[in-house]
């Protein structure tokens, strides 16, 4: 499959993975920073940027992923609505005939 087309179709999941990966990297970097500092005053900036920032990025990634699932379900309902529109006139014809 064409990778460009796939990226265009799955942009929300690609973005979600990017945020999740960035969040994981931030958490690991934060841990490395905290473990390398002996003082609380030196550790706290890492906790804010790596820890809290990492959780923030993970949250955005998870939200984007769940949103993509909801959109997929919404599209299924679109196809069901189309099928119902298609089916109903035929049923009405039978009822009248």
């Amino acid at each position: 499959m064409d990778i460009g087309k796939w990226l265009r179709l799955q942009w929300d999941r690609v973005l979600a993975w990017m945020f999740v990966a960035a969040g994981a990297i931030a958490l690991i970097a934060g841990w490395v920073g905290v473990s390398g500092s002996a003082y609380a005053a030196g550790q706290l900036p890492y906790i804010i940027s790596g820890g809290i920032g990492g959780i923030f990025l993970l949250g955005v990634g998870a939200t984007l992923w769940l949103s993509a699932d909801l959109r997929d379900e919404w599209r299924k309902l679109d196809s069901i609505e189309d099928a119902l529109r298609e089916e109903r006139p035929a049923a009405d014809e039978v009822a009248v005939g």
Binding site: I47, G53, S67, R75, K76, E87
Partner: protein
């Protein structure tokens, strides 16, 4: 799987250029512009607060001076979390409402359709029970046949069961929703 999703996403019908343009029925949206704006503001603001808190904390020399920025960063995270939660809950609610609107009796569909097979179709015996999986529903004059549990077959009266071959010989096509 990704290909299947991609295929379903590509499943939009495109009309030819020569064909007369038809006005497509308006489709409801899962999230409106207001929801998107609310999510963008809460997430963006949350991210900015965390970044500013980090910047201030990194410039302070003592732990006591850093507690304030830490609290602010936690507040930014909370704000972003609430925004994400509201966004997802709104999406779920919209999805549920539309599902109920389109398929009000979908919960009873399987049970009623199964009962329908027994009542309308060939009486079930131990031998014929195995063939229930091959029995599909359709009404007279209908163009498509359905699985017994299909939402489009729910609540229909007077429909009969037949095998796939019999339906196809009668000129019927498989339903696009349940894909028998």
């Amino acid at each position: 799987m990704a290909e299947a999703v991609a295929h379903s996403r590509l499943g939009t019908r495109y009309s030819s250029i020569d064909a007369p343009r038809q006005v497509a029925p308006a489709r409801p949206l899962l999230w409106g512009a207001e929801d998107l704006l609310r999510w963008a503001i809460t997430t963006g603001l949350g991210g900015i607060v965390i970044a500013v808190a980090w910047y201030i904390a990194a410039g302070e020399a003592t732990f006591g001076q850093q507690v304030g920025p830490l609290d602010a960063a936690l507040a930014g995270l909370l704000l972003s979390g609430v925004g994400n939660l509201v966004w997802l809950l709104h999406g779920r609610r919209a999805l549920g409402e539309r599902r109920r609107l389109l398929l009000p009796d979908v919960a009873d569909a399987t049970a009623s359709a199964a009962a329908h097979v027994v009542v309308v179709g060939t009486p079930l015996t131990a031998a014929s029970a195995a063939t229930v999986a091959d029995a599909f529903l359709a009404g007279e004059g209908m163009e498509r046949f359905h699985r017994p549990g299909c939402a489009l077959a729910a609540g229909r009266t007077g429909w009969t069961t037949a095998t796939r071959q019999e339906h196809e010989e009668a000129g019927r096509r498989p339903c696009g929703v349940c894909r028998p």
